[in-house]
Symmetry: C2
Subunit: 191 residues, 2 copies
């Protein structure tokens, strides 16, 4: 699982083994809740196989804000960094194989690798990228109609359309399943 990263990091072997030993394997069925809204996020997950969504509960309706697939890492970042209650839940969509690391272990690793300047800068860049991603989401949500957002999904993240059940996609687009059905049917008949 981690060998793909092995030669990207200038660490000696003993450190490398110490770090990778911090990760534990976890196999779970679909619809497993990995973090519940209100809890404090103490684990960072990496997906070996499967997919995961992050969602908010709003008066019983759920609102999905992100999907994650193989090789991506998932946590409720704000909760994870600040030890505050998570505003969102994290849940598997398919049955999945995951690896997780505790916040304690990750903190230790991060404080050590921050001394390596190129990794430190890389880390800062990553945080910026995350910020810019949120900006993009935000702007698209308030600028574009649901139809436009659906079309961009088709263009930019076809994997979502293929693997994710439609009611989660509707929730991701911020609309009801009924409305998503209407959008699809309109697009079909116009062609």
């Amino acid at each position: 699982m981690f060998n793909q990263f092995r030669n990207k990091f200038p660490l000696d072997d003993s450190k490398w083994i110490e770090y990778t030993d911090c990760f534990k394997r976890l196999e779970v069925p679909s619809k497993t809740i990995l973090l519940k809204e209100g809890e404090i996020s103490k684990k960072l997950f990496i997906i070996e196989k499967g997919c995961i969504r992050v969602w908010f509960n709003n008066n019983g309706k759920d609102l999905t804000t992100q999907f994650f697939f193989e090789n991506q890492s998932v946590a409720s970042i704000e909760s994870f960094m600040k030890k505050s209650p998570s505003p969102a839940s994290i849940e598997t969509i398919e049955s999945s194989i995951l690896w997780w690391i505790s916040k304690n272990d990750l903190d230790k690793i991060l404080s050590e690798i921050k001394e390596i300047p190129q990794l430190r800068d890389r880390f800062i860049d990553m945080i910026f990228e995350r910020t810019f991603d949120y900006m993009k989401y935000f702007v698209s949500f308030i600028k574009d109609s649901p139809t436009q957002r659906y079309l961009s999904l088709i263009e930019e993240r076809p994997q979502i359309l293929q693997r994710i059940p439609q009611h989660y996609i509707a929730s991701y687009l911020g609309i009801t399943t009924v409305h998503l059905s209407r959008i699809k049917s309109k697009l079909l008949h116009r062609k």
Copy 2:
């Protein structure tokens, strides 16, 4: 203008003078465009007096995403950091007194102060805070109705209600001025 920060930074006097000399004063009337959509952001502004909005042009309609007041700093961050065309414009709302620093000068200062660990960590924290702010905006937009968003504005940022013309507020809430009028009138008559 900068003396309020003087004792927060462990810099010797010559460095302090060198750094503050990088800032230039600028006095502008209202509705001055400081950065145009599509341009590359090369200046970071700090507001001594006045207020500023950041907005996107979407098919002629504008969509305001942020307001800034006294003592806040403003730039199209993504454009500023990555030297990419800015997706947003920056414009004064009131006539304003500003201080600005060029990206070159700021980069020089940042690379120097990053060597001071506590400032470096502070800088990383600031970036995280910015990320969390965007998350909050984003979530509120997709979770709450315009009426709820308007009520939160009253609660959390009354300054905006007092100083900002209503059509910019409507644009900030993602609705038309007509609809904002309706919301206000409904709230009034219900009380």
